[in-house]
Amino acid sequence: MNIHTIANHLNDLCDKSHTGLQFDCYPIDGEVEVLQVNIVGREEIPVFVSVTENQVLCISYLWGEDEVNQDRRLAMFETMLELNIPMPLSSFAKIDDKYVIYGALSVQSDMQEIEQELSVLSDNCLEVIDEMVEYLK
């Protein structure tokens, strides 16, 4: 399992997608290879996939620290903690100065599970931003 097998699978899906979403994948070069997965119609919020020794990490950026209304920061944290369990398959996290949601899968996962993960992550992302926009500037 590496990002290229995932990319090939997703790019070949076309109308055969199990999730009703269409994916466009672009590998990003670097010390760790990352796959940028654009979902058609939602290109502004891509999902980034990287594969480590034992897990497949799918990450979507929500917003930066600079977008947070600092007076509501604590309330935002509480909401994130409260939503963490109910939100299916994804969890909140922070990387550097960016808030993200992410999902981690075993490298033994099959492609349909990865497809499902990406779809749910993208749906969660839109919903989270919609619901939590009150904490942003």
Partner: protein
Amino acid sequence: MGILNKILTAFRGGATEVGQGIVDANSTRIFEQEIRDAENHLTKAKRELTDVMAKEMQASREVDRLKRSISEHEGYATQALEKENEALAMEVAEKISQLDQELAEQEAANANFTAHATRLKDLVRKTERQLTDYQRQLSMVKTTESVQKATASITDSFAGSSSKLLNAKDSLERIKARQQQFDDRLVAAEQLADENSDKSLHDKLAEAGIGEQKSNANAVLDRLKARK
């Protein structure tokens, strides 16, 4: 819990810039070496354990054999005494004494092997536990580093291209607008399809002279005449 603390310290210390590891590469290598060492210890301990357990079984079989032999010879000695053959009974008694000594030695050896096996089993359990913990910690370090490097790749990629990560509100609004436009188009297309089917039905009715008729010159003339 050392590793979580190291990761957090590194974050707080701002060691999140590109190229700066959470735990420097050298420490990671040392850590990996420690894991390999622990794995080697484990293999060695397991091999030794098998050996000791085999010896333990052997000693235990020998203890059984000696016990059987002693009771057998005790029988012989009794029989010799019954036949008042004191000399033979004495000879057997000497043999029994020799067997007793051997039994004591074997039992001591057996106890020793059992204790050794118990110690080795403890060691194996401890090493396995430690190994799992080392692997968990290494996986945490590696995942953290991998995410950092991946983030660096993503940031570089976006910095180098015309596209950029928009802020959350704008992104959502654009996506919603696009979705709305798509929905609107869908609705418009449906309406158009409805109108077209209405129109064709209307035409057919008109042709058949049913429903509202088109006004024509004759009809106008008739209407004017009727006003007189």
